[in-house]
């Protein structure tokens, strides 16, 4: 029988079982790295560095995981905080200059096979709407869970998802 995330967390807590933590990393690496790749606009190297930081931070602070939320939600929150801190350091947390972004080299745009209008449109959204869309629509978090991850009120998440969706639809229709 496969152990649940809660079982693995318990092993890390009680026995400091690093194999159990390794299993947690294996289970969640794809979604965490995927989220960070979208947040960093497909900067794979930066996203993977941030994902490593997030998992290390999760290991060091695993005692603060109370099991009130899903482990993945807790992990997304740490990953998002890592991204935000890095973005602050890089002073990129201000709004997005859409025109500048459209003229930037986009690795997805270079490969027609990977070129998805949707992903390009997603990259054009402001960070607050993009984050909400990524968490709720792509990673299947509830609005409440997304509010915990982003540390913003529930109503703001709902508004950001709604606005983000509208913008995406408009951009795809153009």
């Amino acid at each position: 029988m496969e152990l649940t995330d809660a079982d693995l967390v318990a092993r890390v807590l009680v026995d400091d079982d690093q194999h159990a933590f390794g299993e947690l990393v294996r289970r969640h690496q794809s979604s965490v790295r995927g989220l960070l790749r979208q947040l960093t606009r497909t900067d794979v190297a930066l996203a993977d560095d941030l994902a490593q930081q997030a998992f290390l931070r999760a290991y060091k602070n695993i005692r603060s995981f109370r099991g009130e939320a899903r482990f993945s939600t807790w992990l997304y929150r740490i990953a998002y905080n890592c991204f935000r801190e890095d973005a602050r350091r890089r002073k990129e947390l201000v709004g997005i200059d859409e025109e500048r972004l459209q003229t930037q080299h986009d690795p997805q745009a270079a490969d027609p096979g990977l070129r998805h209008d949707l992903m390009r449109a997603l990259n054009l959204l402001p960070l607050h709407e993009r984050s909400a869309i990524l968490l709720c629509c792509q990673n299947g978090l509830s609005h409440d869970e997304a509010a915990r991850v982003l540390d913003i009120p529930l109503g703001t998440v709902k508004t950001n998802v709604l606005r983000g969706r509208e913008k995406l639809k408009r951009m795809l229709a153009d």
């Binding site: 390794g22 990393v25 490593q52 290991y59 990524l134 639809k169």
Partner: protein, 110 residues
């Protein structure tokens, strides 16, 4: 299918599974050393201090004379009293064990 479902499905499909490719191994390499070494050190210190305290108590009490005195007193007690004392000690130890087990299982659930 409404447009919102379509959009969510497209977004999910646009995010394929990312192969591990050594990522987990790199994370595990950077983890701090397991706490076991600290636990072992703590146990050694506690046992050492207990041993030293026992030796000190033995020397200070004149070769453990108080043990003989206490045993003599206990032997002089009625059998019923000794049984009550044994039962009380057992209950206290059982309660302490149960408390430790409950707190440990609670810690593993959070």
């Amino acid at each position: 299918m409404n447009q919102e479902d379509w959009l969510d499905r497209e977004l999910r499909e646009a995010a394929p599974y990312i192969d591990d490719e050594g990522f987990t191994a790199r994370v595990l390499q950077q983890l701090p050393a397991p706490r076991r070494s600290h636990d072992l050190l703590r146990a050694v210190i506690l046992l050492g201090m207990t041993f030293l305290a026992s030796v000190l108590a033995y020397v200070v009490s004149g070769g453990g004379r108080f043990v003989n005195v206490t045993l003599e007193r206990l032997a002089a007690l009625p059998v019923l009293w000794i049984l009550v004392l044994a039962l009380a000690s057992g209950l206290v130890m059982a309660a302490a064990g149960a408390t430790a087990a409950i707190s440990r299982s609670r810690a593993s659930l959070t």
